[in-house]
């Protein structure tokens, strides 16, 4: 029985993958038959955008075991970039002296940062370290107050005179790329702080940054028009006005599908390359991989930033498709926990499983909205017969049922199918 160890596994017929794909295709066809082409294509495009988000999360959670609880924040960052770059230029703003004012304040902010950074280096000139820290902190507080009051003046001026600063009128694709880059930058900041520590801290910090990004976008009327929302956002493809809904959405679907295909191919290569093996080795046994001389924190930071970039791109694609930028539309439930369910249900670490999970979960999600409302109406009409008066905020309460379902799904999957529908294939050599 001393067979030579081979790298090749006995090739198994991918029955599970095939049957899942077929079931999914049947479900999609059923939706097409019932709801019509325009609606179903819209659903598919959104599902494709969610698949990009889910791929971002699956490399963080599945490949590296990092839990990002703030997908919503990175989605919103991608969305705001897509909006700012693609929306037409606001002539009133650029014609006034306000751009110079804003630029001046930003220059002051830069100068303040340089000054504070300089103060933290005072100990090299022989200043005692405690005194240096004191000087740096006091200086930072004072300069911050100065800059923030100047900024408040300019932004109030912008809001009252020209509404908001408007967009840059560039092609939508530029916004998507910059959105990914910005999300990656924020991810680098968070990851740099948290990745060397307990894994729980990353979850807490990402949860916090997501709420902060949302609060910033919601209240910065000069940048995003806040609750007034910006619409319509241009598409990278011909809009429905020229081609009709089905055709325009189908072309958009092709674009997102192409992005997914490229990401899928690159991830597949990376997963089997030395880089991917290192990542998985770190996930499975951190100490032994550190002992092998791998730079654990550096690899972790790489994968976290990569995941955040994908989330930024996915968020930008999603926001552009919805054609409206509404900061209040970014909800933890829709943009964090739904993606989490997609990943853990589809199979963390398995890209195909994640994509199937994304489409499947989104299908159920979209179909559950009319179902929940229908059930609530049924309940209240039953209740009327028994003399029960349904509360006024019935609609908003019915939607809370979906929160419950997502929560139940997360806990049940973790308990009964921790590896998901398509488990990650771990090759055992020899």
């Amino acid at each position: 029985m001393n067979k030579p160890a081979t790298a090749e596994q006995p090739s198994r017929f991918p029955l599970r993958e095939l049957s899942l794909c077929l079931a999914l295709a049947a479900a999609i066809l059923a939706v097409y038959a019932i709801m019509g082409g325009a609606y179903s294509t819209r659903m598919l495009v959104e599902a494709a955008c969610y698949a990009i988000l889910a791929l971002g999360l699956t490399i963080q959670w599945g490949y590296a075991g990092q839990f990002n609880a703030g997908v919503m924040g990175f989605v919103a960052l991608g969305g705001v970039c897509a909006m700012t770059f693609s929306v037409p230029v606001n002539e009133a703003f650029w014609a006034s002296e306000l751009p110079f004012e804003l630029g001046r304040v930003l220059l002051y902010a830069l100068a303040a940062i340089v000054l504070v950074w300089g103060a933290t280096r005072l100990d090299r000139l022989g200043v005692p370290k405690t005194l240096r820290t004191l000087i740096a902190v006091v200086l930072a507080l004072l300069l911050y107050l100065v800059v923030i009051s100047l900024l408040r003046g300019v932004t109030d001026e912008i809001e009252s005179r020209v509404g908001f600063i408007g967009g840059l009128g560039l092609p939508t694709g530029v916004g998507w790329v910059v959105g990914g880059a910005l999300a990656g930058g924020v991810g680098y900041f968070i990851g740099h702080i948290c990745l060397g520590l307990r894994s729980d801290y990353l979850a807490i910090a990402t949860l916090g940054i997501a709420e902060i990004i949302k609060a910033f976008l919601k209240n910065s009327d000069w940048l995003t028009r806040g609750t007034a929302t910006v619409s319509p956002l241009p598409w990278p493809t011909p809009g429905p006005g020229e081609l009709g809904f089905v055709m325009a959405r189908s072309i958009y679907l092709v674009v997102t599908a192409l992005i997914i295909a490229v990401i899928f191919f690159l991830l597949h290569r990376a997963y089997n390359a030395a880089w991917g093996r290192t990542i998985r080795a770190i996930r499975d046994n951190e100490i032994s991989s550190a002992a092998m001389g791998k730079d654990v924190n550096r690899r972790r930071l790489q994968i976290f930033v990569l995941g955040c970039i994908l989330m930024g791109i996915g968020g930008a694609a999603l926001t552009s498709f919805n054609s409206i930028f509404d900061p209040q539309g970014y909800l933890p439930l829709n943009h964090t926990f739904l993606v989490l369910v997609m990943v853990i249900l589809g199979g963390p670490g398995n890209n195909l499983g994640t994509i199937i999970g994304a489409v499947l979960v989104y299908l159920i999600w979209i179909m559950s909205e009319p179902l929940a409302l229908y059930l609530m109406q049924l309940a209240s009409s039953l209740g009327e017969g028994l003399g029960w008066v349904d509360p006024a905020d019935m609609q908003s309460r019915a939607l809370q049922a979906r929160v419950l379902v997502i929560g139940l799904l997360i806990t049940l999957v973790l308990r009964f199918a921790p590896k998901g529908l398509l488990p990650e294939k771990v090759k055992h050599h020899g």
Binding site: R198, D200, A203, K218, R415, P418
Partner: protein, 334 residues
């Protein structure tokens, strides 16, 4: 001197109120952290559940408080604490224990607790709606005005009845917890388990009993914190993640697994929040005449607007993780 009274009302009183609430919440989080080694994301929703129980009981029996001379909500608190403790133990048996039995990584427990948080959120909002509701149903909020015996002060210091109750209850909870952890056998066993679970098990401590007791304490304290928060303002079912961040920040600032640290951390975060949203221009305006002419005070000199309040605990969290990840009191679990 009216400005100073304004400062006391808006920073000292308000800061101690939020500080106490965060402190009681953070103690529960830190106890769970030290015994079960995971960040419990459902804690804020457990607080909301406790407050909801008080609301339900107060609506059912609005007249009880008048007979005792306390707000009805406070009379109902012990019952709500028991119910929340029961819920916490039930959640542990139903959701966390099977995961623990599988020996999963702590981060999977964190995701599990997020699932539980969503379940609780969904249930609470399904039954209670999403509106804010006052816990004072049949009574009026008593307001105490303390006049200061100075010529130049015309404004009083304002403290409301729920705030006084809050200070008393916080003090009682802290002293009770201290006595429990230091004087009783169970409390000592709990500390032993947080130090070294294997050693504790080997020396004959029933660890599953300790876990149950931890959940009872954490659930009870969560009910207290949630009720105090709702008494001070109103019952709001949608606070969840906005409460979670300051509470975790408080627990980490104090050193994870360190109950006294969590109390200190709660007050640090609470005061930092109120100091950051306080408009410092109010305090500086009387000194305006001593400033040089070119230095004109802006109208609003707050560090952050109230809409960005959540930035403060996050900033504290980042700062403590960068400079001292073990917290000010050297937490045991990093």
């Amino acid at each position: 001197m009216n400005e100073l009274v304004f400062f006391i009302n808006n920073v000292v009183v308000a800061g101690s109120v939020t500080g106490s609430i965060y402190a009681i919440g953070a103690v529960g989080v830190t106890l769970i952290f030290s015994i079960m080694r995971f960040a419990h994301f459902a804690h804020a929703d457990m607080m909301t559940f406790g407050a909801l129980m008080v609301l339900v009981l107060t609506t059912a029996f609005p007249e009880v408080g008048g007979a005792v001379g306390l707000p009805t909500a406070v009379v109902m608190l012990p019952l709500a604490m028991a119910l929340t403790a029961l819920l916490a133990v039930g959640i542990d048996k139903g959701f966390y224990k099977p995961l623990r039995a599988h020996g999963v990584k702590p981060i999977v427990m964190v995701i599990g607790s997020l699932g539980v948080a969503l379940i609780l959120q969904g249930l609470i909002r399904l039954f209670a709606g999403t509106r804010a509701q006052s816990l004072y149903i049949a009574e009026r909020k008593e307001i105490f005005r303390l006049e200061l015996p100075f010529e130049s002060v015309t404004r009083p210091i304002i403290v409301t009845e729920p705030q006084v109750i809050l200070f008393i209850l916080t003090l009682a909870a802290v002293i009770g917890l201290h006595l429990f952890l230091n004087r009783t056998r169970t409390g000592k066993a709990m500390r032993a388990m947080s130090d070294n679970p294997d050693l504790a098990r080997a020396s004959g401590i029933n660890t599953s009993r300790i876990v149950t007791i931890t959940w009872i304490i954490a659930g009870g304290l969560a009910a207290v914190a949630g009720t105090l928060l709702s008494l001070d303002v109103a019952f709001k079912p949608d606070l969840s993640f906005f409460l979670l961040l300051p509470i975790f920040a408080a627990a980490i600032v104090g050193g994870v697994g360190h109950p006294y640290g969590a109390i200190a951390g709660g007050f640090v975060v609470g005061f930092a929040e109120t100091l950051a949203v306080f408009n410092w221009a109010v305090l500086l305006r009387p000194l305006q005449q001593h400033f040089p002419d070119w230095l004109e005070l802006p109208r609003n000199l707050a560090f952050v607007g109230t809409e960005y309040k959540i930035v403060v605990p996050f900033f504290i969290l980042v700062a403590i993780l960068v400079w001292r990840p073990t917290g000010i009191f050297k937490g045991k679990v990093i």
